[in-house]
């Protein structure tokens, strides 16, 4: 394997790696004909990210002669190669990634200004191909927005916030922080943002939906998207199906696949107490003409704007996926990770209805890191 990246793409590569570091602790590297795939997954397998850099991204791209070369290494080691991110484009002229198979080292060489040459020989581990199974095209809902819009939106949520709820109707999108039912509603701060469909570059909503996913992992993609200026696309279905965030241009494609809470455990999270049910009416149009007062008044009464949170979606084949908990557990306490974890398995394992052609060969080996301490939550 021998790839050369030059100019501004070195910084893009570095940013992609930094972005992946927000997901998991290890970087999976796989050079294929289509390009170089850089992937990462979190310890509970509820978030997966993949950057595919096409051969055109490189000045020279030569995939491994041994077609099935793939490896993984601690992502911190690779980040250390691209340490001074801010000055990368000023100092680095060329970056070369080569596989040194005799010594089992991945060599990353940075040709810098003033003739300085930085060579990093990183050790790696052989691994199975890491690939989450997902299909963007089959998602009922698709949104696309400029990264600035998304960054400005998530800015309103505290950095410590784990999960966020995204609800869509035919012409509106709501983003709320997700609060567990048992949290003290007096102390919890609720933040809700409403965006009109006009703010999006593309807005295609099949059915009114509400999904909850982890915000922390999303931020990783947003940082990358903002620096690249590329629009972010979101693909999602009903709760339980993963949400896929995607950034694409002619030479790269990034996909972040995040598990969502399933319907069964979907708690109500509104400003008012949980005994009140959300109103299914659409908010008054006054709100859309920026009349905050009427919106606030509407909030204080029991008439809450927002789509229903108990959609009676017809049973679909995908509901046959395994859920490791029953409805009694819906309101039970437990680390959110556990709920996400089982859902993601559901989306990873191909169901006969969805992807009949998918073979089992490219399945991620879930038990591969038996010595990894972080694997405690996988079932």
């Amino acid at each position: 394997m021998d790839c050369v990246v030059t100019g501004g793409n070195v910084k893009v590569l570095a940013k992609a790696i930094h972005s992946l570091s927000r997901i998991g602790e290890e970087l999976y590297l796989e050079p294929v004909e289509d390009g170089l795939a850089l992937r990462s997954v979190n310890s509970s397998r509820s978030a997966f990210a993949c950057f595919l850099l096409s051969p055109l991204f490189f000045q020279r791209y030569q995939a491994a002669s041994d077609q099935s070369f793939r490896c993984k290494m601690p992502i911190k080691s690779v980040q250390a190669v691209f340490k001074s991110l801010a000055s990368l484009d000023r100092s680095v002229e060329k970056c070369r990634i080569q596989l040194n198979s005799e010594k089992s080292r991945l060599t990353i060489t940075l040709h810098c200004k003033h003739g300085l040459l930085k060579t990093h020989n990183l050790s790696f581990q052989d691994c199975e191909s890491l690939q989450a199974v997902f299909d963007k095209e089959s998602c009922a809902n698709v949104l696309q927005a400029q990264p600035r819009l998304m960054v400005d939106t998530v800015l309103h949520f505290p950095p410590s916030l784990d999960e966020v709820n995204l609800s869509v109707s035919s012409d509106r999108v709501w983003l709320r922080n997700h609060v567990e039912d048992d949290a003290d509603s007096l102390r919890a701060m609720m933040t809700e943002l409403c965006l009109s469909s006009e703010e999006f570059d593309h807005f295609a909503v099949g059915t009114q939906t509400s999904v909850t996913f982890c915000l922390k992992e999303l931020r990783g993609l947003l940082v990358f998207a903002e620096s690249s200026g590329l629009p972010v696309s979101m693909y999602f279905d009903e709760p339980g199906s993963p949400v896929i965030l995607s950034v694409t241009d002619s030479v790269l494609e990034a996909n972040f696949v995040l598990a969502t809470l399933s319907e069964d455990s979907h708690p109500k999270n509104h400003v008012n107490s949980d005994t009140k049910h959300p109103d299914t009416e659409q908010p008054p149009d006054d709100f859309m003409s920026d009349d905050m007062d009427s919106f606030l008044i509407a909030m204080e009464t029991s008439e809450l704007p927002g789509p229903s949170h108990a959609p009676a979606s017809p049973p679909r084949p995908s509901n046959n996926r395994k859920h490791s908990f029953s409805e009694e557990e819906a309101l039970a306490e437990g680390p959110p990770n556990k709920k996400f974890c089982s859902l993601f398995f559901g989306s990873v394992l191909p169901t006969s209805s969805q992807l009949p052609n998918q073979t089992m060969q490219s399945q991620e080996v879930l038990a591969s890191d038996s010595e990894d301490e972080n694997q405690t939550e996988t079932s």
Partner: protein, 279 residues
């Protein structure tokens, strides 16, 4: 200025008086060698030399020439004492570290001689502070016996390029290996850490390389923990000279410009790590 209101009798008893309009011209350079608590001060007609050592393997010296001082009076050939450098630095920066332009701390450093404390008169904005720091019997600094006739390889680099390399060094590596050679790789810094090894190569024709005089290929390893403090001196400097002698001892000399643009020197001497088996 309040400092000059000392009586002539007071001044007569001192065997060393050194004054600066800007105490930072002393404190900044001392910070570059402050990796240990104790420092050996050695004053001569030429100026002040401050030495700090670590485990008999590393020695750092800061040189502040007599002409840097606004006033420099020495009544003996050499004056030597040892003080707690941390305490001294705390006193020199007693008025806080503010860098408001035009406002600086003035210093008069006085020493009566053996057994007496080191007296510091510090003034800023009309406020005077007097500090007396106990002195100790100065230890004999190690003589690394590093003389220029024994130097096998020498390079002078602009500090900027080395600063970047040092800030990126893999700290999980126990050693820093320095290779100097008349042929490729010319000047190489290597680390051997948990994730693998890394090499930083500076070619001899790089525009950051001001001088390149290497006679034979030499590779030496030095403990990272010993060299780490030198990054403070590197940060202050604009040029650095790297020399190794036939025994593999390392000499790093840093050219530092103070606030007033005057030149001072800091040097580090380091013993090679004994466990070098391979080249």
């Amino acid at each position: 200025m309040p400092l000059s209101t000392q009586s002539q009798a007071d001044i007569d008893q001192y065997i060393l008086i050194a004054s600066l309009d800007n105490a930072r011209n002393l404190s900044n350079i001392l910070k570059a060698i402050s990796f240990r608590d104790h420092a050996i001060f050695s004053a001569t007609q030429n100026g002040l030399k401050v030495t700090v050592e670590d485990s008999k393997c590393l020695q750092a010296n800061a040189f502040i020439q007599a002409d840097i001082f606004q006033e420099y009076i020495i009544k003996e050939d050499t004056v030597g004492f040892q003080v707690n450098l941390t305490v001294l630095l705390d006193c020199l920066t007693i008025f806080g570290g503010s860098t408001v332009p035009g406002v600086c701390t003035a210093l008069r450093m006085c020493y009566n001689g053996y057994g007496y404390p080191l007296t510091l008169f510090l003034e800023e904005g009309g406020v005077v502070t007097v500090c007396k720091i106990n002195t100790q019997e100065p230890e004999e600094p190690i003589d690394f016996d590093f003389c220029s006739t024994n130097v096998t390889n020498k390079v002078i680099l602009q500090s900027d390029s080395l600063k970047e390399a040092f800030s990126e060094l893999d700290m999980t590596s126990e050693v820093l290996q320095i290779t100097m050679s008349p042929s490729h790789p010319y000047f190489r810094l290597s680390t051997f850490g948990n994730s693998g090894n890394a090499h930083y190569d500076y070619p001899k024709d790089s525009d950051m390389m001001e001088l390149f005089q290497c006679t034979k290929i030499q590779t030496n390893r030095y403990k990272m923990s010993l060299l780490k403090p030198s990054t403070k001196a590197l940060a202050l400097s604009c040029k650095v000279s790297v020399r190794t002698d036939s025994r593999g001892f390392l000499s790093l000399q840093y050219l530092v410009r103070n606030d007033d643009g005057q030149i001072c020197f800091v040097e580090y001497y380091c013993c090679p790590d004994e466990e070098v088996e391979e080249e």
